[in-house]
């Protein structure tokens, strides 16, 4: 296997991401740096990152319908196939990278000791899954569609149905956590966390689309969610990283 050329990653477009300080999302007010981020040219510390293999996960970790359920039972809720690809900004697939998800159950309740919402826990639903992308960057999970739930921000704020997604890529500079939403949900436009993102086109990138062709008839609805990580330069010029 030849070693990829160690080149810089494209600068992150900070106008596409939410700002640290987004006062309508109240918790961000005291948790946002006030001083500017210091821009750093990539070094070995940023263009490398942890690697994962099949030994790190188990078969079935990506099946939230069964990975916590009692034998022969199923979680309550709308069964969905969540699938997509992990690409970089150059539209190249990102293979063999770890994708982890977590979510509330169908009643909007998280299996977490700090969640006291009245929505019922589902004894057959844990709410987390993980998988590695294949050599084409593709991933898939089986799960249930999470429920919306209220949260303490404004007096009457509700989170749209969403699934949290964590992706590594191949460099620490590509590390990303985000949330996916579901096409057609009227709560998306009202959500203060969604609305931390300034550009409506960027919000569209977080909405999983109903994928009728991948639906399993008489079994489960499919949603497609592609994930784009930072891309990198293709050419190496003289201002190169030594030691590589």
């Amino acid at each position: 296997m030849t070693r990829p050329k160690p080149t810089d990653y494209y600068a992150r477009d900070r106008r596409w991401h939410p700002p640290a300080y987004a006062p309508d999302y109240k918790t961000s007010v005291s948790r946002s740096p006030r001083l500017p981020l210091l821009s750093l040219e990539n070094t070995a510390s940023e263009i490398t990152g942890p690697t994962f293999g099949q030994n790190d996960i188990a078969v079935g970790d990506n099946d939230l319908l069964s990975n916590f359920a009692r034998p022969g039972e199923n979680p309550i809720g709308e069964r969905i196939l969540l699938h997509g690809r992990v690409l970089d900004e150059n539209a190249r697939p990102v293979p063999n990278t770890l994708v982890e998800i977590w979510q509330a159950n169908a009643s909007g309740r998280y299996r977490h000791k700090k969640d006291g919402y009245i929505g019922a826990l589902d004894p057959n639903f844990g709410g987390c899954g993980r998988t590695l992308t294949d050599d084409q960057g593709a991933y898939a999970f089986r799960t249930i569609k999470p429920g919306a739930y209220p949260w303490r921000n404004g007096l009457n704020d509700w989170r749209p149905a969403h699934i949290h997604v964590s992706v590594f890529g191949h460099a620490f500079a590509q590390r990303l956590i985000t949330q996916l939403y579901f096409e057609g949900d009227p709560l998306i436009a009202r959500c203060p966390i969604v609305n931390t993102i300034p550009d409506p086109a960027a919000v569209q990138q977080l909405i999983a689309r109903l994928d009728i062709n991948e639906t399993l008839p008489l079994d489960m609805i499919a949603y497609r969610f592609d994930i784009v990580l930072r891309g990198r330069r293709s050419t190496l010029f003289e201002n190169r990283m030594e030691g590589n």
């Binding site: 296997m1 070693r3 990829p4 494209y10 600068a11 900070r14 596409w16 991401h17 939410p18 987004a22 961000s28 007010v29 005291s30 948790r31 946002s32 740096p33 006030r34 981020l37 821009s39 040219e41 070995a44 510390s45 940023e46 263009i47 490398t48 990152g49 942890p50 690697t51 994962f52 990975n67 916590f68 690409l87 900004e89 150059n90 539209a91 982890e100 977590w102 299996r111 977490h112 700090k114 969640d115 844990g126 987390c128 949290h164 191949h170 620490f172 956590i177 985000t178 966390i193 931390t196 086109a201 990138q205 977080l206 784009v228 990580l229 201002n239 190169r240 990283m241 030594e242 590589n244």
Partner: protein, 226 residues
């Protein structure tokens, strides 16, 4: 002879995809990334529990700290990811020399260089055990002082925050570190220095460093746009 102006022919398209925008990890990040700490067992192995492994050379260390918000209160739902080189200054990654191209393995068997740390839900304290990394080759032939890369996510943090932990007991290496020297306000460089408090560095008696992170306000930690 001049060419006719035909922008639809001559202007090439440069339309890369846009990076997926970030959203906060939220208060229940543990369910996905550390379910045992959320209160249930689901995976055979949780990832990121052992950074250095048993075979890594170098001094054994423990880093302890807390993350504080702008009011001075500890952040009790934070998750930190750690990424570091081994004692020889090499990362376990295909782009590190000697790795994955038929050359000798460049890092010790079992050395992941990566870990996950969560704060105590009541006190906000966290700690992780690892080995002290070596200096790492930087850009343009300059060496970087030993450091650990940190990525911080929590409720209220919209895009994960990148910073570096350097070691206060490496004054010479720190003084010539190209990244620390980028920090214009020299007093702020100290926000990236972990202070040794005890221990020798042996497996039985790891050297303990204290490293607090201030998201905002007096002593605000230097965060990087990497």
């Amino acid at each position: 002879m001049t060419l006719p102006y035909r922008p639809h022919f001559l202007q090439q398209s440069l339309t890369p995809l846009k990076e997926t925008p970030s959203q906060t990890a939220g208060p229940y990040v543990h369910i996905g990334l550390a379910p045992g700490d959320a209160g249930f067992q689901i995976y055979d192995t949780e990832l990121g529990q052992d950074i250095a492994g048993p075979n890594a050379a170098g001094d054994r260390i423990r880093v302890e700290g807390r993350v504080f918000d702008g009011t001075g209160a500890p952040v009790r739902d934070v998750l930190i990811e750690v990424w570091q080189a081994n004692a020889a200054g090499l990362y376990p990654h295909p782009e590190t020399p000697g790795t994955g191209d038929g050359g000798p393995e460049s890092t010790e068997n079992g050395f992941r260089g990566w870990g996950r740390v969560i704060s105590n839900f009541e006190s906000g304290s966290w700690s992780f055990d690892t080995i002290k990394p070596g200096g790492v080759a930087g850009r343009n032939g300059r060496s970087m002082a030993p450091h650990i890369n940190l990525w911080i996510v929590a409720r209220g943090i919209n895009v994960g925050l990148n910073t570096r932990l350097y070691f206060a007991d490496e004054p010479d290496a720190n003084a010539s570190d190209p990244v620390l020297n980028l920090i214009e306000q020299t007093d702020r460089r100290a926000t990236l220095l972990a202070q040794p408090v005890s221990g020798t560095g042996s497996a039985q008696n790891p050297r303990v460093y204290q490293f607090d992170i201030h998201l905002q306000g007096p002593g605000e930690t230097v965060f990087f746009d990497i």
